[in-house]
């Protein structure tokens, strides 16, 4: 009797340890992919820079022929890609987990395009730059999130209604972005692409600081709430019964996720579907082995980094990263709808 019980405990502990090992393994693999991706983007562009030169540039040395390319062209791009990718991935998955619906990601329900519209407005009409643009974006992102949430509140928030209302709101916001851009004195297609689909083309290293700070600050809060967030996946009632303060968690998560996404959007625009894709990919890879928050952030970073590389070098002409992630993400969204419909479930 007692031996049986011990062996059950042992099995539980062993299982938990095994899952943790698998989870750490997945994390390590993602980090390896990310670092490899960064190394490739730093070394290989229009021309090849040997690894030792890249390292010397990174150490701060001045290497003739390599310094400019690596320090001013490739490094800002790679760093910014990783940081905004992490912000989008983590913010997106927080939304999806909180609302228990993969479709409730900020780029589908209009939060990202709201932040983008505010950034465009601040830059084109008010001619602001830097932190002021980020503040505008965050306020607008929060406003849109509250608006969508509030409008879908009718005898409780129904997930489907929230998504449909979000789609309606984003249609409105996107047409206003198109309008503001069409009134900009100097029309620039690259600029327009950035605010409509997202691009890291104009990346500079000093733009990375606000994104890094927000990632550390808001990402830290999100991760500290990770356990509660994972419990919320079981449903509000179950989570409350397990001791999660549901409303508090929800408000904190929403504020942090929106702020992260809005600050990243203020720099690169709403890179299409990174928030939407990261979570489901992470969930599929991680399975039941642990939290999907950190893996989603890493996957978001990989998506932006690799997508940007594909857009720059692997296609006949150059495309901003948002076009690539959009072309990848939309078929996945369609696949998700098809497979859920096939199974006969409701979305």
């Amino acid at each position: 009797m007692s031996t049986g019980q011990i062996s059950i405990f042992d099995r539980v502990i062993q299982g938990r340890q095994r899952r943790t090992r698998v989870w750490l393994g997945i994390l390590a693999a993602l980090v390896v992919i990310l670092v490899t991706g960064m190394a490739i983007t730093l070394m290989l562009g229009q021309s090849f820079t040997p690894p030792q030169d890249v390292l010397r540039v990174l150490m701060g040395e001045n290497v003739p022929g390599a310094s400019f390319t690596v320090e001013h062209l490739r490094l800002p791009r790679a760093v910014l890609s990783v940081l905004v990718g992490m912000s989008f991935g983590l913010g997106g998955v927080a939304f999806q987990v909180m609302l228990r619906n993969p479709l409730a990601s900020p780029d589908i329900i209009g939060v990202s395009s709201g932040a983008s519209a505010a950034a465009v407005f601040a830059i084109v009409v008010l001619q602001l730059d830097g932190a002021a643009v980020s503040v505008f974006s965050v306020v607008a992102g929060l406003g849109v999130a509250l608006l969508v949430y509030g409008l879908s509140h009718k005898n409780g928030v129904a997930g489907t209604r929230l998504i449909l209302i979000g789609i309606g709101i984003s249609a409105m916001i996107e047409s206003s972005i198109a309008y503001i851009l069409s009134r900009a004195p100097a029309w620039d297609l690259q600029e327009a692409m950035r605010w409509l689909t997202g691009s890291v083309n104009a990346a500079q290293l000093d733009q990375a600081w606000p994104v890094l700070v927000s990632l550390l600050l808001f990402g830290g809060v999100l991760l500290s709430r990770g356990r509660d967030l994972d419990t919320l996946r079981m449903g509000d009632d179950a989570a409350a019964a397990l001791g999660v303060r549901v409303t508090l968690t929800r408000v904190m998560v929403m504020v942090c996720a929106v702020s992260m996404i809005a600050i990243a959007t203020a720099v690169t625009g709403p890179i299409a579907f990174v928030s939407f894709l990261s979570g489901p990919i992470a969930a599929r890879i991680v399975g039941p082995n642990g939290s999907i928050l950190i893996p989603s952030a890493l996957i978001g970073a990989c998506l932006v980094l690799i997508g940007d590389y594909i857009g720059q070098f692997l296609l006949p002409s150059r495309y901003p990263v948002g076009v690539i992630t959009g072309a990848l993400g939309a078929p996945y969204l369609i696949y998700l709808i098809i497979s859920v419909n096939r199974r006969g479930g409701s979305l």
Partner: protein, 346 residues
Amino acid sequence: MTARTETLRPFSVPDQYQLLRWMSLLALVVLLVALCILSIAVGTREVTWQEISAALQGQLTSVGEAAVAMRIPRTLLAVIAGGALGLAGAIMQGVTRNPLADPGILGVNIGASLAVVIGLAWFGMSMAYAYVWTAILGAGVTAVFVYTIGSLGRGGATPLKLALAGAATSVALSSFTIAVVLPRNDIAGGVRSWQIGGVGGATYDAIQLVLPFLLVGLAISLLSARKLNILALGDDLAAGLGEKLVLARGTAGAGAILLCGATTAACGPIGFVGLIVPHLCRLLVGVDYRWLLPFSALSGANLLLLADVVGRIVARPSELAVGVITAFIGAPFFIWIVRRQRVREL
């Protein structure tokens, strides 16, 4: 005896309602005429009544007269396009039996514009007729695709599934459109102004080009009104009444696709007109498609014309593209419909 046959007619309505319908029809026509006059008289440049009447008689001596002459094809195009979109929206809502169906939301307009962009960029399309055909082809393929995805699985084409399938397809197609346009600076400028959706660049040639397609679409649509009435009873009942469901959906849908494909070829993708108009018309005339379709066409023309005039007034001295205005009116309307539905239906 007569009273008894009266009650057996499915859509018989008391005389005062019939009168109300005719009165509203008349009111819509009067409104349309008034808006046409407004659309010719109002714009960035202020013109006098003398100039307007001179320009209407074909005189082109002053700048004001030239401005008026530019506004006439624009007004015509707005009327035609609005009518076509309103009609297409009503048919799509009837065919899918879905309150959220609209050529814009279902991605059909975006599909048409992608087809045109591909034709321009890859096949060096230059014949004007080719534009319209490609747009209609694109619209048709997209409509079938979205409807197929949206109606998979349990419950058929529920509003949520259809709207999501349309939204996903729109994003994918606009991504592809950007991918096709971006490397080609020669067509990028033209495509950009066309993609917001507007009637500003209207010419008589463009109108002449799309008019035959729209007339055919109009004829098919109006002839399918009875079939839409029967489809509205539900698939089982309609089949029981001897209606060939696929054929009925196919013909009505083909009419709608002709209408919105040709409209997109002329003005670019304009969203939400087809969503708003049928809902408002239902409040006015009820659910009988024989009334609903002409009303939707008329109200669509009114709405687009009004949106165009407003776009010229609010943003002086520049203009607000009509596609932006319809999105701003349409999105809140869309949200209102979503909120009005019971959750279970969504």
